[in-house]
Structures are given as structure tokens and as C-alpha cells.
């Protein structure tokens, strides 16, 4: 483990994971907001909106994230001149956040939609039968039940998002996988400890997170 006694290497490691944290945090917010909007469109009675939501999901769920991130940089930024910040790292960071959010939103949308589908139609029919308005049915009957069904899939989507954040390394951000590559190339004699530290960091955070979401989903599940 003497690779990590060198403060420079520790710095590379910490910076790498800080980028992952920042990417995950911002993209979680972005994907959640976009995903909720899209799922509202997909279940709306307006055909145009339904079509737009379906098109978004089909396009972004079937395109590799690498291609999306690649396009964000070489297409949006280099060719179309869409720039977020003058500082190169921050610009790459926000382009990465855009790519990750746009991609993950498709999955969030599908999770929410199938969550709404788990609510039996009889629940909403009963609510309407006793005179509840659309808003009341939505906020008191459908969403509380759908929300519980959505915890597990959303949990795995956000775990996947934090892993996918490494792909922003494609456009030159020194996130964890690029950091690991740099350390490996500089310290060929300590390849395995370096890998174990980087991969271990992900495993130590994400495996308990996975079990945590599973436990929560199970605890809050609607018993039918």
C-alpha cells in the first residue's frame, strides 16, 4: 500500500472520487426532475405529450451513454458552440451532467410509470366513486402507493448512475477511472493494490447502498 503514502497519489484519488460525487449529486437532481416531468407526460391524456415521452425514452434508453457523453462534448460543445463555463474542467463537468441526466431520466421515467401501473385500477375507481377530484386521487391514493413501489427500481438506477459517472472520463475529466489509469501507468509495480483501493471504494459504498434500498423497499412495500 505504499503507493498511497505519497500525498500526490492520495490527492489524485481524492479528486477522482470528488468528481464522481459531484457528478452523481447534480445528475441525480437533473435526472429526477426530468424523469418526473417525462413520466407525467407519458401518462397524460394528451397524445402529443405521450408521444414525446415515449420517443425520449426509446431514443436515450437505447443509445450508449458513451455516445451521449461523446456527443455532449464533440457535438454540443465543439461543433454547435454550446458552452456552460469558461473553465475547461467545469465545462466538461456540466456537459457530463447534461449527458448523464438526459440518459438517466429515461430510466427514471420508466420506473415511475411502471410504479403507477402497479396501483390497481380499482383504487382510483373507488376514489372517484366517493367523489375525489383528480388532484385528490393523484396525491392521496395513486402517488403514495406508486412511490413505495418505485423505491427499489429508483435505488438501482441511482446506484447505476454513480457508476456511470466514470464515463464522463471520456471527455477528459480526471474522475476516478482516469485517476486509476494515471496511477497504474505511473506505478506499474503496485497495480493490484491500486485497483483494489479504487474498486473497493465503489464496492464499500454501493453494496450497502443496494442492500439499504432493498431493505427500505421491502419495509415500505404495499402489502396486497
Amino acid at each position: 500500500m505504499d503507493v498511497f503514502s505519497d500525498p500526490y497519489n492520495v490527492d489524485v484519488y481524492v479528486t477522482g472520487f470528488l468528481w464522481i460525487l459531484k457528478l452523481t449529486a447534480a445528475s441525480t437532481v437533473g435526472a429526477l426532475v426530468l424523469g418526473v416531468l417525462l413520466s407525467a407526460m407519458r401518462v397524460s391524456p394528451v397524445p402529443v405529450l405521450r408521444g414525446f415521452g415515449a420517443a425520449w425514452v426509446n431514443v436515450f434508453r437505447n443509445t450508449p451513454l458513451t455516445l451521449i457523453i461523446f456527443f455532449c462534448y464533440f457535438g454540443l460543445f465543439s461543433t454547435l458552440g454550446f458552452s456552460v463555463s469558461d473553465e475547461i474542467d467545469l465545462n466538461n463537468y456540466w456537459l457530463g451532467v447534461i449527458g448523464l441526466s438526459v440518459y438517466t431520466a429515461a430510466f427514471v421515467c420508466e420506473a415511475i410509470r411502471s410504479g403507477i401501473n402497479t396501483v390497481p385500477a380499482g383504487q382510483a375507481e373507488a376514489a372517484r366513486a366517493i367523489g375525489m377530484s383528480f388532484r385528490q386521487t393523484l396525491t392521496m391514493i395513486v402517488l403514495p402507493q406508486a412511490g413505495r413501489a418505485v423505491i427499489a427500481p429508483l435505488g438501482s438506477i441511482f446506484i447505476a448512475l454513480s457508476k456511470n459517472a466514470t464515463i464522463v472520463g471520456t471527455i477528459g475529466l480526471m474522475e476516478s477511472s482516469n485517476a486509476m489509469k494515471e496511477l497504474i501507468n505511473a506505478n506499474g509495480d503496485a497495480v493490484i493494490p491500486i485497483f483494489l483501493v479504487f474498486a473497493g471504494t465503489f464496492a464499500v459504498v454501493l453494496i450497502p447502498a443496494g442492500y439499504g434500498f432493498g431493505w427500505l423497499a421491502n419495509r415500505l412495500a404495499v402489502k396486497r
Binding site: 407519458r42 401518462v43 397524460s44 391524456p45 394528451v46 397524445p47 402529443v48 405529450l49 426509446n58 431514443v59 434508453r61 437505447n62 443509445t63 450508449p64 451513454l65 458513451t66 455516445l67 461523446f70 456527443f71 464533440f74 457535438g75 465543439s78 461543433t79 454547435l80 458552440g81 403507477i116 401501473n117 396501483v119 390497481p120 385500477a121 382510483a124 372517484r128 383528480f134 393523484l138 395513486v142 457508476k163 456511470n164 459517472a165 466514470t166 464515463i167 472520463g169 471520456t170 476516478s176 477511472s177 486509476m180 489509469k181 497504474i184 501507468n185 506499474g188 509495480d189 497495480v191 493490484i192 491500486i194 485497483f195 479504487f198 474498486a199 465503489f202 464496492a203 453494496i207 443496494g210
Partner: protein, 285 residues
């Protein structure tokens, strides 16, 4: 359509009018968005003929896009076969009665599911050569990474599938004197595999998409050949990315459609009384 039944009542006259108004309003908004994108492209001259022209030439397809697609599908196919094997072995390992098989198998599966695929590929491609002291083939770096990750995901899916086979099946098998390995091999795995078929095909979509990570370690797959190399020759990165994205979408939606068809088929067969219990349990996976 079932969603409509949950959220919205059948529209009456007022709701119908409101829906028409909303359709018009959002239709105009979407057209506006489309026009804004068109104008943005126009401003940067992205509709210019020479940028799109290469895609009508046969050589662009035969020299770049088709070989790239071939490499993408090749890596995905090899990785799928290996991942299936890996998945079955580790799913059965995790269900073993011996703790010294169960725990390591569980640890391997959990570990590779939690590690980002890119990190894994970087380790295999840049790290392993330091240990073995010979260069790593790019193809195998991509395939190995894909196998370890997707194999672990499939192992979890298989384990759930094996759990979902009704207990009466294995009890009956034990009752007629089958050994543990026979029960697993001849009773549980075949039934689980059948109910897992849609999941396996859906995992193919993930695999095909993840081969694009090979671009980062310069494996000559579709993103590398069809976007990077084409754009290097013709300076049309936006156009190339759009064309390649369409190819990916076509390949993956056909896989998704296949998975959906398989699922409906399994369900339809499942309506026969004798296998009803199996499929009902399999649906919960």
C-alpha cells in the same frame, strides 16, 4: 392504456375539449423546440450537404460503419455466451449448501456488480499487462470486462429465477431419489432458464450499449469507427453521431421487441394449468 384507467376517468365533453386544447398548445411548443434545434443547426451550417453526403457513399458504410457494427456485435455476442456461463456457475455457487462455495461466489458477484465497468476495463487493459508482462488484446479486455459485469448481473437474475421455481419441483425430484446436483441440473436450472429468457435478452441490450465503452480503450467498435474515424475524415461529428445513434437504437429496439415477444409467449404458454404456478412466480422476478 392501463395507466389511463388508474389516473384518468374516460373523458367527458369538457375533458375532451381540454385535451384538444392541450394537444394544440403542446404541439405548438414542440414544433417551436424542433424549429429552435433546426435554427441552431442552421446557424452553425450543420445542414450543409457535404457533411451528410458521406453517408450516401457505399465506401463509408463498407469501410467504417459496417466493420464497426460487426466488432460491436461480435464483442457483445462472445461476451454474452461467456456471461451466461459465468452467471449460471455463480448463481448455482451462491445457492450451494457449503459455505466455502457460497460465500466466495457471493463476494465475487457482489464485487463485480458494484465496480464500474470502465474501471474494470481500465484495470484489465492497462493494469493486467504489468502483471503478466505481455500486452493485453483490446478485444479480450472489452469482452472480459463485459463478461465479469454482465455475468454477475445475470447470476443474480438466475438466482432469483431458481428461487422462483416452485418448491414442489425440487421436493418431487428429491422424492424420486435424485441427487442434489441432478436436481439443480435437470430440474431447477432448465425451468429457471426458460422463465429468465426475456431477462437474458434484455441484458443483451445492456451488453450492446456497453461495448461502446471499448471506444475509450480504442477498440474499433461502432463509436470508434462510425463516429470518431468518419468524423476525422469528413469533419461531420454531429451527423456521424446521429447516424450511429440511429443504428444503436434500431439494434437495441429489435432486441427489446424480441424480449417482449418472448415474455408474452412464456406467459401465453403459462396459461395452461400445469405450468401456471411456475410462470406466476417467475413474473415476480
Amino acid at each position: 392504456m392501463s395507466t389511463d384507467a388508474v389516473l384518468y376517468d374516460h373523458p367527458g365533453p369538457r375533458a375532451k375539449i381540454r385535451n384538444v386544447v392541450l394537444t394544440v398548445v403542446f404541439g405548438v411548443a414542440l414544433l417551436g423546440l424542433a424549429y429552435w434545434i433546426y435554427a441552431r443547426f442552421d446557424e452553425k451550417g450543420q445542414w450543409a450537404g457535404p457533411l451528410w453526403k458521406p453517408f450516401t457513399a457505399a465506401s463509408t458504410w463498407t469501410d467504417y460503419i459496417l466493420p464497426g457494427l460487426g466488432h460491436t456485435l461480435g464483442a457483445a455476442a462472445v461476451a454474452m455466451v461467456l456471461a451466461l456461463t459465468f452467471g449460471i456457475v455463480f448463481a448455482v455457487g451462491r445457492l450451494s449448501d457449503h459455505w466455502w462455495v457460497r460465500l466466495p461466489a457471493g463476494a465475487v458477484v457482489e464485487f463485480f456488480r458494484a465496480v464500474p465497468l470502465l474501471l474494470l476495463m481500465f484495470f484489465i487493459f492497462f493494469g493486467v499487462p504489468f502483471i503478466t508482462e505481455q500486452p493485453m488484446s483490446i478485444f479480450w479486455a472489452v469482452v472480459l470486462g463485459l463478461t465479469l459485469y454482465n455475468g454477475s448481473v445475470l447470476a443474480e437474475a438466475f438466482r432469483a429465477g431458481i428461487y422462483a421455481v416452485p418448491r414442489g419441483q425440487s421436493e418431487a425430484a428429491y422424492a424420486i431419489g435424485m441427487r442434489k446436483s441432478q436436481v439443480m441440473r435437470e430440474i431447477l436450472v432448465p425451468q429457471a432458464a426458460r422463465s429468465m429468457l426475456p431477462v437474458i435478452v434484455s441484458q443483451m441490450v445492456v451488453l450492446v450499449k456497453d461495448t461502446a465503452l471499448g471506444y475509450i480503450i480504442s477498440y474499433s467498435e461502432l463509436l470508434q469507427m462510425g463516429v470518431n474515424n468518419v468524423a476525422a475524415n469528413f469533419g461531420n461529428v454531429v451527423q456521424a453521431a446521429i447516424v450511429v445513434a440511429i443504428i444503436f437504437i434500431l439494434v437495441n429496439s429489435s432486441l427489446t421487441a424480441l424480449a417482449g415477444w418472448l415474455e408474452r409467449r412464456t406467459r401465453r404458454v403459462g396459461k395452461a394449468p400445469r405450468t401456471a404456478a411456475l410462470v406466476e412466480a417467475g413474473d415476480a422476478v
